[in-house]
């Protein structure tokens, strides 16, 4: 089985349909799963800003994609993440995986988003007018990533 991973890190608005078309599901993939994280409205939010590290962030996304593909036997995996300022309703991250069977596709995408949350160098701030607040990662995010790590073989 040919496998490939595809990383997109961009300051432009993510085009989900175009990203899904990049996924090469192939005739042996019976299952495709996707996850999209979007900017959720919260009181008086003007914009969400994502900051990244020029070198460490793409390297981490590559590493996460490789780990997810090896772990679940996925044929193709796409991880796309946006940086910069984005408005309510716009996508922040999109992950799509194709695999022979459903469980591999679903679990691969779950794993990738949980691990990305704590292992990919991004920082988030919420803008309200000309003031911002940093979003600190939640304990829950750390626990979710830890759960996957514990079961790492």
């Amino acid at each position: 089985m040919m496998t490939r991973s595809d990383i997109v890190l961009t300051g432009e608005c993510l085009d989900i349909e175009a990203l899904n078309r990049r996924l090469q599901s192939g005739v042996h993939s019976g299952a495709v799963s996707t996850f999209t994280g979007l900017v959720r409205s919260s009181d008086a939010l003007t914009a969400l800003e994502l900051l990244h590290h020029r070198v460490l962030t793409p390297a981490a996304l590559q590493r996460i994609a490789k780990a997810a593909m090896n772990r679940f036997g996925v044929a193709d995996l796409l991880i796309a993440h946006r940086y910069g300022r984005m408005a309510v309703g716009e996508p922040i991250v999109h992950i799509a995986g194709a695999a022979p069977h459903r469980r591999a596709a679903l679990d691969c995408v779950s794993y990738a988003i949980d691990v990305l949350k704590t292992q990919a160098p991004f920082w988030k701030r919420e803008w309200r007018g000309d003031k911002y607040d940093w979003v600190e990662p939640t304990l829950d995010d750390h626990e979710k990533a830890a759960t996957w790590m514990e079961t790492d073989t």
Partner: protein, 85 residues
């Protein structure tokens, strides 16, 4: 030894700058020793003592347990906990 320090995430606001260049006389042998050397040299330098920070030297992550081999002109990045996705 000249070092470029870079700060990412909320830490950037805590130390009040995105990056700075410092000259050290000593050559710290570990991340904890490097941090203790830097704390008095930076405004709000004690923010570097946050145990959740990660450190990268020349774009490579380092762990606190490793022996450190710092060289002149190295770039040292201190990174707040991540919150992507």
């Amino acid at each position: 030894m000249k070092l470029t320090l870079e700060f990412f995430g909320p830490l950037r606001d805590r130390v009040g700058q995105a990056s700075t260049v410092l000259t050290l006389v000593e050559r710290p042998q570990s991340i904890p020793a490097l941090i203790e050397t830097l704390v008095p040299l930076l405004e709000s330098g004690e923010a570097l003592r946050d145990p959740h920070l990660r450190v990268a030297i020349n774009d490579q992550f380092c762990s606190s347990a490793e022996n450190l081999m710092l060289h002149d002109h190295d770039r040292v990045a201190f990174l707040s906990p991540f919150s992507g996705g």
